[in-house]
């Protein structure tokens, strides 16, 4: 007797990790705010610690349309141009 599989496998997107920085010193930080109540505060606090410990600077803070939506392609392009790495996180 056969079972019929009701599931669908997510279609794998070809992605690769960005090159890891050799040093954290002086990197440019990108922040993605997800619009949750404490999101911005949490990210800025995180960035402050990174600035203090590693001499980083916040290069860009982008606000998503909502927590449910992906980052806009224009924002992704801007992050690529202006930031060395990006921090994203929820802020309930």
């Amino acid at each position: 007797m056969k079972l019929m599989d009701p599931t669908a496998t997510p279609e794998a997107a070809q992605v690769r990790l960005a090159p890891r920085p050799k040093s954290l010193q002086g990197l440019r930080i990108g922040l993605i705010e997800n619009t949750k109540f404490n999101s911005k505060a949490l990210l800025l606090k995180t960035a402050q610690r990174l600035e203090q410990r590693h001499g980083m600077t916040v290069a860009l803070l982008a606000r998503k349309r909502s927590p449910s939506h992906e980052v806009e392609p224009d924002a992704v392009r801007e992050f690529k141009a202006k930031a060395d790495f990006v921090v994203s996180g929820i802020g309930d």
């Binding site: 056969k2 019929m4 599989d5 009701p6 599931t7 997510p10 449910s68």
Partner: protein, 364 residues
């Protein structure tokens, strides 16, 4: 929580590990073992049953019904049909299930939030138009309750599709803190017997002769009782109060809410000649609390200042965010208020019920 079943590349496959031997109960157990059910037994699907459902929808199975951005998920008609059969749907229900799934995949619904949030929304599927009557979808007594196959199985098919196809499994990408019983199944029809206003789908831009399904992320369900009101104003004050209690999710967000008017309450509005717009405006005006109330309950940040005791804050900023549908029995002083999930970014979506390759009309 059982981990999701390993991916199987074909829709129909022999499973040598399942010792089903033609025994229906063993077959049902095998679906449990794979983690493919909602916790209730499913109807083991057969090629014939799935083909029959697809034929009723005028589809072959490979058609794309929708996709979920960010999850790399593509929903095909064939997979929806398999889950509809598992849910117990008759073949002719599939077009309604597909319309609901199209609604969930619509960009305006912004699926990821309401589907995965700790808020644990039930996805209400509200069927309007001739298909509701033709399929026997209950819109009367016990419209939210048990006892009607199309209501139970269409709603269940939507949830099974969410779990199995749209990657929305409890504990993984379904992070509901409590969830709701409506997450098993939540489908009902709009009544044709005691409408207070024009039909819901007509108000959303469809013709009366069209059939449509509205999907709505229902955060909770609060029955509203009023046996003494004979005029709209006192009756609607009860709804306004239910829409702005201190624990309501939309203190900061101005999200949509759904009102379902049953027969006696619907009659009060109809006999008073109130329009939908008038009713929505009254509710928005009265669904409010003092800023100090919200701050005292830590629903708004900040210290209470003297002005907060007299400053009012509404929980809606647009009357159109209050959706009103008529359903339920004609007797009884009950209606319901179903606060929505999220903020402005998540909208109820209405999709026309179609068969074949017709492009369905959609509105949000």
């Amino acid at each position: 929580m059982r981990p999701p079943a390993p991916a199987v590349e074909v829709e129909s496959s022999s499973d040598p590990s399942a010792n089903t031997s033609g025994d229906p109960s063993a077959m049902i157990e095998a679906y449990f073992e794979h983690g493919w059910t909602d916790g209730l037994p499913v109807v083991p699907p057969t090629d014939a049953a799935v083909s029959g459902a697809l034929a009723a929808a005028g589809l072959g199975g490979s058609e794309t019904i929708g996709a979920i951005p960010g999850r790399n998920v593509r929903v095909t008609a064939g997979k929806v049909a398999v889950n509809a059969v598992m849910a117990g749907c008759r073949p002719e229900y599939l077009p309604v299930v597909l319309a609901a799934i199209r609604g969930l995949c619509h960009p305006a619904f912004a699926y990821h939030g309401p589907a995965s949030s700790t808020g644990g929304s039930a996805m209400a599927a509200i069927v309007s138009g001739p298909a509701a009557r033709a399929l026997g979808i209950n819109s009367g007594n016990n419209a939210f309750g048990q006892g009607w196959r199309p209501n139970a199985t269409i709603g269940r098919a939507v949830r099974l599709t969410m779990m199995n196809v749209m990657n929305t499994r409890p504990g993984l990408l379904d992070r509901a803190t409590l969830g709701s019983p409506g997450k098993y199944s939540f489908c009902f029809a709009e009544t044709e017997q005691h409408l207070a206003f024009e039909p819901f789908h007509v108000q959303r831009g469809f013709r009366p002769g069209q059939s449509a399904v509205t999907v709505y992320a229902s955060n909770s369900l609060n029955q509203v009782y009023n046996q003494l009101a004979t005029r709209p104003e006192p009756l609607l004050l009860c709804f306004a109060d239910a829409l702005c209690h201190l624990g309501i999710p939309n203190v900061l967000g101005f999200n949509q809410s759904l009102i379902v008017l049953a027969g006696e309450h619907s009659a009060i509005l109809r006999e008073a000649g109130w329009t939908r717009t008038q009713t929505q405006a009254f509710l928005v005006e009265h669904a409010r609390r003092r800023v100090a109330d919200f701050k005292r309950a830590a629903r708004l940040p900040g210290e209470i200042v003297a002005a907060d005791e007299t400053a009012w804050r509404s929980v809606f900023d647009d009357p159109r965010d209050i959706l009103i549908v008529c359903a339920g029995g004609e007797a009884g002083a009950w209606s319901a208020c179903l606060p929505g999930w999220g903020k402005k970014w998540t909208r109820a979506v209405t999709v026309e019920v179609v068969t074949g390759d017709a492009e369905p009309q959609a509105a949000s």
